[in-house]
Subunit: 338 residues, 2 copies
Amino acid sequence: MDNITLKMLAKELNLSTAAISKALRDSHEISTHTKQRVQELASRLNYIPNAYAGSLRRRKSKTIAVVLPEVADSFFSLAINGIEAIAEQKGYHVLIYLTHENFSREQAILKDFQSGRVDGVLMSLTAETASYQHVCDLHAKDIPLVFFDRVCEEINTAKITTDDFESGYKATQHLIDCGCKKIALLSISNYLAISNRRLDGYRQALKDNNIKNSPINIYCGNDNAVNYRFIQRIMSDKERPDGIVATVEKLTTDVYLVCKELQLSIPQDLKIVSFSNLSSADILNPSLTTITQPAFEMGKAAAVILFKALEKKSFTLRDENYTMPSELIIRGSTVLQK
Amino acid sequence: MDNITLKMLAKELNLSTAAISKALRDSHEISTHTKQRVQELASRLNYIPNAYAGSLRRRKSKTIAVVLPEVADSFFSLAINGIEAIAEQKGYHVLIYLTHENFSREQAILKDFQSGRVDGVLMSLTAETASYQHVCDLHAKDIPLVFFDRVCEEINTAKITTDDFESGYKATQHLIDCGCKKIALLSISNYLAISNRRLDGYRQALKDNNIKNSPINIYCGNDNAVNYRFIQRIMSDKERPDGIVATVEKLTTDVYLVCKELQLSIPQDLKIVSFSNLSSADILNPSLTTITQPAFEMGKAAAVILFKALEKKSFTLRDENYTMPSELIIRGSTVLQK
DNA sequence: GCTATTTACTTAAACGGTTAAGTAAATTAT
DNA sequence: ATAATTTACTTAACCGTTTAAGTAAATAGC
């Protein structure tokens, strides 16, 4: 079945395509009577304008992209919800692109955006991302770009983060307060600004408490099986940590499983705090102490700023940092529950 | 900075835009020497073709859509990975659209697809979806459509599911084998075919074991707070179930939390089996017995079929059902662990 | 009653590619 | 040596909209 086009409506009503187009956009140049006829026919034939034709002509697509490492992380899935809540109000489409923590995918996706496919971009970098030419290239094309969480500090644009230094500090201090002497920080990136901020906070807390020789900044990769063996090795060592700050949700599962396997009990033998928004934190064995970020609100905030840029004719996204607080929620993985 | 267009390249090299276009697509009509000049200039100026112009002319976008209820469910996030693995091989873009279990969003999204925005669609229905006109409309436009998991039986196209009847049966039989006498099934939809298949399997198992008066098919909605109170009420009743089959991952968290609150112990007071792909099933308190679907493979299978349709000139997606087996993984929520 | 303005359109040129059809020059065939 | 074919392009139409510019008729202004 062939699609209905403006031209077909025009022929049917003996009008020009211009008249139809204007009638459908409720232009004052068209008489009320004609508008009615056009709208009636359009809805009767279920006319749906071709998305590409319109976007090509207007050089705007009413579409934004969200570029994320993955979706199997509660932070990102909540952030998406925040973004979509705003986009829906604004009548924009939201396209979700996943990098799977893969730098070359991120490059390819951003390059594609230079084709004008989307009007604006919200993104969180890959853990691998250590160079920024692809981001610069996109930014140079004047496509509004807002970072959230895994921001790119090198680009002058708006960025939404949480208080990562403070969170790293808070998590570490909490473990120290619980009696930990040897605290490890599990990270998935040596490049990401937020990882480094969390690491800085962790280091500062150790320093302020005069703790030395802690096995600092243990780096995990993107392969779960490898991470598991790695954590296994760390926890098998007789110099094993008695506290862990997991900067990423998914590492926590591995830690729990390793402890189960090695018959180490949490929180007696090991205490752990994880950056996480998992609703199941409460029902883990034991329940998980978390640093919980305001994921939904961060998504919303990022979207709001992006739309400010999109709706202004002379847009300028300045180099702004918005920091939102995250929360330490103490549960059974650091404090023995009744 | 203005974008580079074919026209600009043409002017620069004193060729027609047609020549440039053909050179870039490596046409035999263009001399090797000219091709080289064109390609050299194009890559030097970082020429990126306008996505809308090409798609408009070719009436193909090399883009497929994945329409999902949500992404905060391990089944869907894994299925996406399977889909993207195939799409990447084929050089297609994947756009993810979320319905948030909202029927009118689903309608709006499918309607939009009639604009030719995507070449094909993979989808899982909303829990609310009880009428199918919007799906018929899309299907009538000859846009290839493949369902996975939450399929629409009323539409003649390819469908990928798991053995939902058998899974419902298996889960129920397992609870019966563990001694349950009063088994509830928690569902989020009275409309979805897969919900009904699971329910049928559950009923059959009860029947085969001569169990009557089980509180059949308890319906939960999309609001977590409401679900929580609802489950709370059920579990507070003195006629409360001693076994639960949760047909959806997210309901499990509520059940665990309610039991914690009411000081009911799992599996002594209540045994529960949940449809879930959560990697954290193992570290819950207690670990969770699951029916686990081959989510990644289902995504792959759905994508493979869709691409068969997309790549054939005279495509026909027949009314086919592909059923893949899911697996019962017995853990601590039904059997007391050592 | 004649000019100025408004109304309600139409025409045609974009947007940035792709492609069918045409063509001049070079090559091959006979 | 001439016709047939191949090579390497160009021209122009087209995809389906939007929109600037043009226009004829109706209305308003004085």
